[in-house]
């Protein structure tokens, strides 16, 4: 692994972490507002997080 690869991998992890963190935080707010919809919100949250994760992993393999 060369230094540009390591820096790139770090940037990818920062980006994916920010994205998943935003989704998690918004889902928390949404559940606090409407606790009865928590099931649907969790499902949507997991799907969105999985999609970001997929992109993140694909980029990590390229790096």
């Amino acid at each position: 692994m060369t230094i540009p690869n390591i820096v790139g991998a770090g940037l990818i992890v920062i980006g994916a972490g920010l994205g998943i963190g935003k989704i998690g935080g918004s889902a928390m707010e949404a559940i606090a507002r409407q606790p009865e919809a928590s099931g649907k919100i969790q499902t949507a949250m997991l799907i969105a997080a999985a999609l970001i994760e997929g992109i993140g992993f694909a980029a990590l393999f390229a790096a």
Partner: protein
Amino acid sequence: MVISRKPSHLIVAALLALMPLLSIANENHGEATSTHATEAVAPAGEEGHGEGHETGDIRSEIKSHINHHVLDSHDFTLFADDKEGKHFGFPLPVILWDGELHMFSSAEFHHAENGVVESNGKYYVLSHHDGKIYRTDASGTLTEDEKSGHPTNVHPIDLSITKSVLFIIITAILMFFLFTRLAKSYAKNGGIPKGMVRIFEPLVVFIRDEIAIPNIGEKNYKKYMSYLLTIFFFILFLNLFGLTPLGVNVTGNLTITFSLAILTFLITNLTANKNYWGHIFWMPGVPYLMRIVLAPIELLGVFIKPFSLMIRLYANIFAGHIVIMSIIGLMFIFKSWIGSPLSFGLAFVLSILEILVAFLQAYIFTMLTALYFGSANEEHHHEEAHH
């Protein structure tokens, strides 16, 4: 994951979570003692560099051990003692197609003096570089490519029962028996399942009510249920097998996740209705110029969806195995009182996290598969589509 309030159940769950620690520590233990022995043999040579050289040696040994673990192999080693050169495990059958069928036990690679096995007049050798079988001559020469270091010998079609294949077969048999028993107990007891297998009922109902019906729809969900249940329990069982001391890494193998993803791809596209293809090639409800722009993007999306399924499952399980094994390897790098409790604690917490990941990845794979099936079966509900 359901953990009962009873403390005894929690203890059993904690012990199960500790199981990977046991196996991996066992295997590394043998290697660590062997490096001690080599150090004792040659201490006089370079005394100044002894310490640094030795830790570097352990590091590379741990690295090669992890690399060996995450790959598939032709024999099943439970644990090994490198000092005495003993391997505890059993060999698996090697089946090769090289013009004709060759079958022999993988133990022959270890018994033959230079690792060359003769079968029906052809010679085969197991490369230590990548763990693959190559055709060779009687003396066992392997010509290696200068750039990549991979052998350039003929690689026959390998249909062997490897460690991963063995565990796929075991999982298939296990699932067959468990779910046949579950289905039979419904018929026997008038709709109430009985015995050990009833712990699967909530999971089956969960997949039907929370995954299949909301995503695919009340009308079409039944024809996809069998596939959704099969991949969910297949991935779940293999993920959990990967956390046991058996040391298998099946769902963390790109070829296996590729096969699962291609099944989802084929079922999605072969059972799709005309609305699905309409949304790809001639998107309704957008201006005509946009439709031409959108068509190639949507067509690309058809292939990206299963590709991301494949990468996600592989990378999650692969990364989990590597992280747990690296943390256990810390024990042998630190070599002080702090190393063992630190790596024990971290590996314990991570193993519990990995159980969560095992369930979560099985859920995500099934969920997204159901989502794709749902998109392939969508009825047109756009008002302008009626005109």
